[in-house]
Point group: C2
Chain length 446, copies 2
């Protein structure tokens, strides 16, 4: 991999060699600059922004963390705010506005040129996480009757500051989407031929209200580098490009992993998230799980006398419930991910259940054998050994089934299945596990 130059910006600032720094920065791309300034305090970021040309400044600004963006906006001079906001891509701007309080957005909108303001307000009106929020209204449109040569001329004239010119969109007088043409098709085609003859008259598209995750899956399945976005009347209103989709896919995976660890989702990067925010993200789940877990205590208290007589049985409680939790976690994680990538649908519950039941029986039998050996060392009484192993077998089968069904159950209730993982599953299995354990074991040991 090409190692991008790592410059210690601080040294230049301390030595006051700002002119040299400026000429170095101007040669970098936005991603490299982000890399260089990411760990600087916001005051030094401010200095760097002063040195950047307007367009590059807007690009770098777009890639910053929302907390940094907000701080910088309050430190910038009005002129700089105006430049950056107007030069930002409309989709990145919507992203920023989403993070800010409504009164700040209102003020910032005033800095935009009338045309950009109109666009910004339109984009903000689409529902959160929809294709409308993600798209940019900057695209090149063509008319069917143009020749390839005229179309290329049109691309040359209007395409320079557009997000993409590799996919061009053919619309009619009412702006309805009629087809798409790839730029390469224009290059390969005879210059005199009509656009209507080479366009794809039945192009793939998405609606403004479609969820961004579905759009990401759609583009990835069809290997699209750009997809047109239409409104409810099939009028072309924007385009979503593949680079935004790559970010969505990463974000959604991060979101799923955070949900699977049962915590609130944080869209900011680790070091930019405040401690109190992390606290808030986690404390609700931990308390809820602790309270639910109390049921296991209620069950154990019920068996207190039994336990006083056979105190050795307490030694198996952690292993019993932990193994159940582990088996259920494996199953649910597998199914949650397959649901997220679109492979498993709600209607597949029966096929999944059968498969997991079978796997669980195999796992339960293997683990019961291991447990028998282990229990023999703790207590060589046959009743205990048999009771504990048998309880484990029941437990693992039960865990597999529960781990398989919980994500479906969540989906049925319109809850994100990702929550039915890790801690939630482990806690449910703890409570069920204690019940199963004492019930099965008390049948063997009188």
């Amino acid at each position: 991999m090409k190692v991008t130059m790592k410059i210690d910006i601080r040294k230049f600032i301390e030595a006051n060699q700002l002119r040299t720094l400026k000429s170095i920065l101007e040669d970098q791309d936005a991603a490299t600059i982000i890399d260089m300034i990411d760990e600087l305090p916001v005051e030094e970021k401010l200095i760097v922004f002063r040195l950047l040309p307007k367009e590059l400044a807007a690009q770098v600004f777009s890639e910053l963390d929302p907390t940094d963006q907000t701080k910088l906006l309050s430190l910038f001079k009005e002129e700089r705010v105006r430049d950056i906001l107007n030069y930002m891509d409309p989709d990145d701007r919507t992203d920023l506005f989403d993070e800010l309080p409504a009164n700040v957005v209102k003020k910032l909108l005033e800095y935009l040129s009338p045309e950009e303001r109109k666009r910004a307000i339109e984009l903000l009106n689409y529902p959160p996480n929809s294709a409308g929020r993600l798209m940019t209204p900057e695209f090149v449109d063509l008319k069917e009757h143009l020749t390839v040569e005229e179309a290329l001329e049109h691309v040359r004239k209007t395409g320079k500051d557009k997000e993409t010119v590799y996919v061009l969109f053919v619309i009619d007088k009412t702006r309805k989407l009629k087809g798409t043409v790839e730029l390469k098709d224009l290059i390969f085609a005879d210059p005199g031929i009509k656009i209507s003859e080479i366009m794809d008259p039945d192009p793939l598209y998405v609606h403004t209200t479609d969820d961004q995750e579905e759009v990401a899956r759609f583009m990835s399945d069809h290997d699209l580098i750009a997809v047109p976005v239409v409104d409810s009347e099939q009028r072309l209103v924007g385009v979503i490009t593949i680079d935004d989709i790559v970010d969505i896919i990463e974000e959604e995976a991060t979101e799923d992993i955070q949900k699977m660890a049962n915590m609130g989702v944080s869209y900011e990067s680790y070091f930019h998230t405040k401690t109190t925010r992390f606290f808030k993200n986690r404390v609700f789940w931990l308390i809820a799980l602790l309270i639910f877990e109390s049921f296991s205590g209620v069950i154990i208290t019920k068996y207190q006398d039994f336990l006083r007589t056979f105190a050795v049985l307490a030694a198996f409680i952690p292993t019993m419930i932990a193994t159940g939790g582990n088996a259920a976690t494996q199953t649910s994680a597998l199914i949650i991910r397959a649901m997220a990538t679109g492979e498993i649908e709600l209607r597949d519950w029966w096929r999944v259940l059968l498969k997991e039941l079978w796997v669980s029986v195999l796992l339960g039998a293997s683990l019961a054998v291991v447990m028998m050996v282990r229990a023999h060392f703790t207590s060589p009484v046959l009743d205990v050994t048999l009771g504990v192993s048998c309880a484990l077998l029941v437990m693992v089968v039960f865990s597999g089934v529960t781990g398989a069904l919980l994500p479906f159950f969540a989906r049925l209730l319109k809850i994100d299945p990702a929550f039915m993982a890790g801690p939630v599953v482990a806690t449910i299995m703890d409570v069920m596990g204690v019940a199963i354990y004492f019930y099965v074991v008390s049948m063997f040991i009188k």
Copy 2:
């Protein structure tokens, strides 16, 4: 979203209307056909393949699951195997060969044309998961001295069956990479100008041996739609396009989630993975965790007499260890993901530890209060209430620290940090939790 036509292929096959089916299929793209045939038995897939034109057949075949690919290859007539293999993109072909036994690959290589065979063997020589395996050797190369007009003519002549023409690569006589030009730059530039004047003379590139995950991150950070791949002597040998990267990012997230649930990784889709495979993927971890978990039993056995006297204390064991496991799971999942996306590096361990310590103290204090109320209901003895709450506070702080450090520890040992999640963390916390619980509680209750 555009609803792609869902045709019941079976009906056409049963009614023997193969000619109609053929004309329908010819109009679809590969992704739509995959959608339609995905759940058909392999014999019916075979019929569909007979109806598809060569190139489309190769595309559809590339998108199938490895198990289906292997089965179909054994059912196809020799002629069909020959066509499909020769028409497949070289990178997809490498992917397929990776899945097959060496002797099968050897036989299949004979079906390739001499030129394709040479390419296939070259690609197979790169290490698994490297940029070399992922790239395609099909790209358009230009020479510096060409004019824009000549370059466009060259693209027209040689670009038709290339994976991308949107990024063009400038090389010298020794095939060393000199620069890149985007197709749009050719369109916008004056036809008479030299390529050397408009190319990016310092382009971003990757090496054949770079890991695919790093390449994915690199392309996504720099918003590249294609990246050149060079060998150790900076000679251009291939190109990686963004559509392959989208797949890699999804695959890596799936892999991480499976590892975080502590199971073997399966690259096949859920329904195509055999039950025995799932069993093998999970059983090792479950047994290992069960054995490790036994230590908790050993500790409890040590406190057997104490427990006989204060049997009520058994009621808190599950809550205690579960809360520790939950808190540690949250922390480790957060850090594992931030490591995977490149935000947290090994050297950040100290900053992470401080932050997590602080969050854990806040969480521990809040949970101790909740626990005090709960313990009061189970046993209104002050010593028990205080002892249990205090043990929980120590437990949660300890969990936060452990959850934060385990991923760093794994990385230090060159183990994928993703394994330090869910079940592993929960099991470690179980054993530590039992020890902490009895130690702290026995200080309060004599």
